[in-house]
Amino acid sequence: MTSAPKDDAVVAPVAAPRAGAFVRLGPRHLIIAGAIIAAVLIPFYAKSFVLFQLTQVMIYALAILGLNLLTGFNGQFSIGHSAFYGVGAYTTAILMERYGVPYVWTVPAAGAVCFMVGFLFGLPALRLQNLYLALATFTLAIAMPQLLKFHGFEGWTGGVQGLVVDQPDPPSFLPIDGDQWLYYFTLIVMLVMFAGAANLIRSRTGRAMMAIRDNPIAASAMGINTSLYKMLTFGVSALYTGVAGALGALAVAFVAPDSFTIFLSISLLVGLVIGGVGSIAGCLVGGLFMLYVPNIAESISTGLAGVIYGFILLLIIFVMPAGAAGFVRFALAQLARLRQT
């Protein structure tokens, strides 16, 4: 219990500048603060398996946020984000296992590597739009598992066998176990990255990103360097997903080519739509969906799990066509109208 204030202290500076960016503290900030406090307290009540699941939810949420920056805020499609996730995961695994780098440093390193990969991939992607861009990113997703298996890289990647990653030990001064520490570590990284994304969206750069999404011609007429911003967005998007991949490697303690197939990309896309395209908090809902709905579907019927998953997905899309974020917005608007009448 003694560690709770400590973690609060870590979280506070993250929340503070966000609050300062606004004129006054609204109910929105109370909700965010409440959610963070709840998230900090969970490890003292939940079992380690539940913590492991929640850690994965946060990791998926972060990966979805990466995709969201690209698709939701910049209007570029990608079904190749499994590749960035994989690059992030392998960067962490290779640095830790082959070069003995401490895990903490592998996370920013994975982000940096993915930023470069994403930025460079953004270059050819500039010439492609919509469906064609989707196809181009599709090649990334298809190529990644095979590249990871390729014998020329086997010295680093471990080939089809994958790499086993040591799960990070908690700092010795904290009286918590490995699962709890991983949860907090992921929580901290996620909060920093979510706050960063929120600030990015509200900045000049963020407005430029959205202007390109809404009308690229008008955006360039206003003097926005659309090529540069599109490439940068690709890079940042890959960075976010790559950091998620790095955390994923730490949580699962194992990487293998078959973990990063096109199916992961599709799941991220589903999570994005369920959470709400263009919503930052919605990514968390997307992460929850990614992890729990397949489990729920399986618990209803093992044989028909895929059908039930599809049914739940359709149901949600019909009920909340704009994702969870859109649904909340709609519900709040309805409430406000009720209050007025």
């Binding site: 066998q161 994958g162 086993v164």
Partner: protein, 411 residues
């Protein structure tokens, strides 16, 4: 006094029982020792399998296992305890396997993980299981790394592994031709390399025979024809074709086209009549040999076999939807039967330690659908249960078993 209501009786009765039960129970002469998931009535065991996803055709293994445990329960269970078999879908995704396995171990509280499927998926939980000291029993994969009693004492394989098969091919070749010049075609990954290492270990470097060509292919290659032509030009007279069906078929066809007639061994991954030999041409495939350890349910020679009859009866009653031409439906119950034997041997000492101890002391155990004479033996230094195969020659219609069983009989 408080009035006696139905509810208070309902509350009082179990608590009264709970208090008196320990007094009433008489300790048996032999000590009962239970690990997680075990009661007097039940043994909880777990499993992960691919019911959805890219490899879901293997999902039938999990269903066939479940059917087998149901049959065991209908027959009264094991030493009076019912098997509660919990199988989760991991969709062939290693992170999902970790999640589902942690759920099995930490939430469901299983005694052991029985026959989890897949190589990358089992690799993902390998360390976790050994760290948590939970038996990872009879993993359903052919990689050779599962036989590592020292490094991973909580993990044990089941089927003949690729390395072992490779050495047995070498044994066969040496018997046919002690001076054989061997060529190996293998997939450039760990499974392929397991075969290659096996053949090389089997041939050795003392005799006249040697491996003269090691030709690899990538799954992305269009063809392996140049490798075959190369082998012929280098005087290879014994060809080990350790390729997946598509490439195995190409190689057999090409060999026939260039009039090359070496001893041809097709590995177990490419031995399917429908997927390899028919596309290669049944006449081209005549004379090719391969190895088997299970009774192929499509092979008419087993029609009158007691084991086969048992199996069809089992399938009809407990898994009527299952495809009776699918070898995976033979695999599932055979693997599950071995798990049941371990539990039987455990008696009332159903701890995880004893499970591994018994799994490492199987003696001449047989399963109806293993080839006649194949016996499962393990020891504390031998974690490879099935290690015998029989060679078979293709006669243009079907595989005909011949010769003695190959491989080590005892651990």
């Amino acid at each position: 006094m408080k009035k006696l209501t139905r509810r208070s009786i309902l509350i009082a009765a179990p608590s009264a029982l709970a208090f008196t039960a320990p007094l009433l129970s008489i300790r048996p002469a032999f000590a009962k020792d239970y690990g997680p998931g075990v009661t007097d009535k039940e043994i909880k065991i777990g499993n992960t399998c691919f019911y959805t996803g890219p490899a879901s055709s293997y999902g039938t293994i999990g269903k066939a296992m479940a059917a087998y445990y149901k049959m065991i329960n209908d027959q009264g269970g094991i030493n009076g305890r019912m098997i509660n078999f919990i199988s989760y879908d991991d969709a062939y995704s290693p992170p999902k396997t970790v999640e589902q396995t942690r759920k099995l171990v930490e939430e469901d509280g299983i005694l052991l993980d029985a026959g989890p499927l897949g190589t990358p998926t089992n690799s993902a939980i390998w360390h976790y299981m050994n760290e948590k000291k939970v038996p990872q029993l009879f993993v359903s994969t052919g990689a050779s790394k599962w036989n590592d009693p020292k490094g991973h004492p909580w993990t044990i394989g089941w089927q003949p592994n690729y390395h072992m098969e490779g050495t047995l091919y070498a044994t066969y070749i040496l018997k046919e031709n002690p001076n054989a010049q061997v060529g190996v075609l293998y997939q450039n990954d760990d499974f392929g390399k397991d075969y290659l290492r096996g053949v090389k270990d089997g041939i050795g470097d003392k005799g006249k025979a040697k491996v003269v060509v090691e030709a690899s292919y990538e799954t992305t290659d269009a063809t392996v024809e140049s490798q075959v032509v190369d082998m012929k030009s280098k005087g290879v007279d014994a060809f080990v074709n350790a390729a997946i069906p598509k490439f195995a078929a190409q190689a057999i066809r090409k060999a026939a086209e260039i009039q090359w007639k070496p001893i041809q061994v097709v590995s177990s991954i490419g031995q399917s009549v429908a997927a390899t030999l028919k596309p290669a041409g049944l006449d081209h495939s005549t004379g090719v040999v391969s190895d088997f350890y299970l009774k192929d349910p499509t092979d008419p020679q087993w029609k009158e076999d007691a084991g086969y009859k048992w199996w069809t009866g089992f399938m009809d009653k407990y898994y009527p939807d299952g495809d009776k031409s699918d070898i995976n439906n033979v695999y599932g119950p055979s693997n599950a039967a071995t798990v049941c034997q371990v539990l039987k041997q455990c008696g009332d000492e159903l701890t995880r330690e004893n499970v591994m101890k018994q799994a490492a002391s199987l003696k001449d155990f047989t399963v109806p659908m293993l080839l006649p004479g194949i016996k499962i033996n393990t020891s504390p230094t031998d974690f490879a249960p099935v290690k015998q195969v029989q060679m078979a020659k293709f006669d243009g219609q079907r595989w005909n078993l011949f010769g003695d069983l190959l491989g080590a009989a005892a651990g």
